[in-house]
């Protein structure tokens, strides 16, 4: 049975990693991820894990060594934030194309420049097309739960793709929270033994990882990768169901909060969902038919499931904690709009970019978003299709 403890998001992730007990961890420090590596290093020093810890000289090498370890048949992990993820970008793609089930906690932080150490989602959004599954967490509990599920999702033979487990820098990573953790033995049974199909250390069947793949095969391999990403959706739900039986905590592709009869709604990811939920409750108490959709799985993008829920409302405000600099809103905004396009009756959708560089998102701002969305739901027009929320003009 679970045990209640008070932990920060980073502590929860480090503890989850200890319970996973990976064969290899290769990592490099970066704010706000640093604690994870520090805590994990002490588990290694105290003999609490069997892990070979490789303290590399950069994040590029962190991902490169993790790839080498995973290709050698190890359960291998790393963790990063911001510039670290940006530096490893090249090899992040290679990890996915090698179909290596690497799990990487990402503590979301703004990208330079100017340099800023606080939360937004620009880092993981920058890697959104790298072929990794991406799970976003609202709090430390979800970060921990997502981490354990990520191992099982990644290693499922129908999937074999790496997974990023995202949590909000400082807000979640450094905030102390009460959460419920599983017993070590429960985690071990849940994730099971990892048995790789292709290992560099199999002398009976030598393998080639990363050969030159030209016009005659590359495309087929990319199609296989795309199929694996689609196949991940049902696996994510199966793993969530198994995890619910074990932990009592329920996970879906997203959480639809008070959406059943909602007239208008907000879509959001990460820690800001908590504040938004408070606003939804307040507005509901005042008789407003409002709802919240908190997206957990951004990759693969669950557009069919989103259609079923968002297709029923009149207006949706999509809140992005990253700008795509496309001149057309954030990535979540664009994808939600594209995902709902085929519906016969679809909601009107506006975009809000909020919280860049760790800027707080307050209750009043969320109320403003709901008020504007209500106006649009009733046939009014937004001043702007996309608004940078709370920015001084």
């Amino acid at each position: 049975m679970g045990k209640r403890v008070a932990l920060t998001g980073n502590e929860a992730i480090a503890l989850g990693m200890r319970q996973i007990n990976p064969d290899v961890v290769a990592a490099y420090p970066i704010t706000p991820q640093t604690d994870i590596v520090q805590y994990f290093a002490s588990f290694v020093s105290d003999g609490q894990v069997k892990t070979e810890l490789v303290t590399v000289e950069s994040e590029h090498s962190a991902m490169s060594a993790t790839i080498g370890a995973a290709a050698a048949g190890a359960r291998a992990m790393t963790a990063t934030s911001s510039q670290g993820l940006a530096l490893m970008w090249e090899v992040v793609y290679i990890a996915a194309s090698f179909r290596l089930p690497i799990v990487m906690p990402v503590v979301n932080r703004a990208l330079s420049g100017p340099i800023n150490i606080h939360c937004d989602h620009s880092d993981s959004m920058g890697a959104r097309d790298s072929g990794w599954i991406q799970l976003y967490s609202e709090n430390a509990q979800e970060a921990y739960d997502n981490l354990l599920q990520a191992v099982k999702i990644a290693e499922d033979k129908r999937v074999m793709l790496p997974v990023m487990v995202c949590q909000d820098g400082f807000i979640t990573s450094h905030g102390m929270e009460n959460l419920e953790i599983l017993q070590d033995e429960e985690v071990r049974t849940f994730i099971g033994e990892y048995t790789p199909d292709y290992s560099l250390l199999d002398t009976k069947r030598p393998v080639m990882y990363g050969p030159l793949d030209l016009q005659n095969y590359y495309f087929e391999h990319k199609k296989q990768q795309a199929e694996a990403m689609k196949d991940a959706l049902p696996v994510i739900l199966e793993v969530a169901e198994e995890y619910r039986k074990l932990s009592g905590r329920e996970y879906q592709l997203f959480e639809a909060y008070r959406m059943d009869d909602a007239e208008y709604a907000v879509v959001i990811m990460g820690s800001a969902a908590g504040t938004t939920r408070v606003v939804v409750d307040e507005l509901r108490a005042a008789g407003e038919k409002v709802g919240l959709l908190k997206l957990r799985v951004f990759r693969p993008f669950p557009y069919k499931a989103l259609q079923q829920v968002l297709g029923k409302v009149k207006a949706v405000a999509v809140m992005d904690r990253a700008d795509s600099f496309s001149g057309f809103g954030g990535p979540l905004f664009s994808e939600i709009r594209a995902g709902l396009y085929d519906l016969e009756t679809r909601p009107r959708i506006s975009g809000y970019i909020y919280g860049l560089g760790g800027r707080d998102l307050g209750i009043d701002e969320i109320k403003r978003v709901f008020a504007e969305t209500k106006m649009i739901a009733r046939g009014g027009d937004a001043a702007d299709l996309v608004t940078h929320l709370g920015v001084r003009e």
Partner: protein, 308 residues
């Protein structure tokens, strides 16, 4: 460590025929000699470059072993990860065999873009052998200068023109830089002196911890030389002391071959199209500078090796 060529010639090749490297390329000659020193199962990591692209064209492979190519600059980090996995899995009893881990990179992937990753892996002490096949430029992309390119060389990014006479800088002395990492074994070798090279590889494989071997590997396309001259050019590189053969074993420098007579470096330069412009009268000073550089390095090396 003795090298019995008769015995070695009976071993099955790990890099097999059918690869698409050019005639006269120094890389596969070096690789086959080096791998003949091997007695264990091996995982090879290969940096992006000629050796990698020419031996791994999917669905074919010229490699008779497990092999990984990750990217250009991260071969040392990649093989670190493989070795870390091995250590962990071996400790858990999941792997039984005694593996060796070898990385191959060209000079671009080793002296330049992969330098940080190489230095990091050496400092961490992984039990790996990193081999650089140094052909003195980015040959795979069409002969661009690297930090291994010698002074005066005409490359596509240091072209000998009306005002600039080829590369303006001397090459980086990477072997000495690797020796400064104080790792158990560092060596410089040449396929022209194969007994010496194979012996060095045996030592590199035998030490516990990281080893680095720098091998000169002519590129007939980039050097603009005859494909039949590869080995004689290597011999000249050694005899002119442009590429001395030595090793640094636990900090002790040993000269493993001393030419009977040190030839002028011109002897080596004059066979190569990339240095042809140096023989114009107005560029004579560059040959002199080249010679001074070789002499100075040779003297330093003799002192380090305590040879008079």
């Amino acid at each position: 460590m003795s090298v019995n060529l008769k015995e070695l010639s009976k071993k099955p090749d790990i890099l097999t025929p059918g690869h698409r490297l050019c005639a006269g390329c120094g890389a596969p000659i070096a690789v086959r000699q080096l791998l003949s020193a091997l007695d264990n199962p091996v995982v090879i990591a290969n940096a992006t470059g000629c050796l990698e692209v020419s031996t791994s064209i999917f669905p074919y492979s010229a490699w008779n072993c497990s092999w990984i190519h990750n990217a250009f600059e991260n071969t040392a980090a990649t093989i670190s990860g493989v070795e870390a996995a091995y250590k962990s899995l071996k400790r858990q009893g999941k792997v039984k065999e005694d593996f060796k881990f070898i990385a191959f990179g060209g000079d671009g992937g080793t002296y330049d873009i992969g330098f940080q990753s190489l230095s990091g892996a050496m400092e961490r002490g992984h039990d790996i052998v990193y081999v650089c096949y140094d052909n003195g430029a980015y040959m795979n992309t069409g002969v661009q200068r690297s930090s291994a390119t010698p002074l005066g060389a005409d490359t596509t990014t240091s072209p000998a023109g009306a005002v600039v006479p080829g590369k303006l800088q001397h090459r980086k002395d990477l072997t000495a830089i690797m020796a400064a990492h104080n790792i158990p074994y560092v060596a410089q070798g040449s396929p022209s002196h194969f007994t010496d090279l194979i012996k060095k590889m045996k030592k590199a494989l035998a030490v516990k911890g990281p080893a680095f071997i720098n091998v000169l590997a002519p590129c007939p396309r980039g050097w603009r030389t005859e494909t039949s001259e590869t080995i004689s050019l290597l011999r000249l590189a050694v005899d002119t002391c442009f590429w001395p053969l030595y090793e640094v074993e636990d900090g002790k420098w040993n000269l493993t071959f001393k030419p009977k007579e040190k030839k002028p470096v011109e002897e080596w330069l004059k066979h190569q199209g990339r240095f042809r412009h140096l023989f114009k009268p107005e560029n004579r000073h560059l040959i002199d500078q080249f010679q001074e550089y070789v002499d100075k390095n040779w003297e330093t090396l003799l002192k380090r090796c305590e040879v008079s």
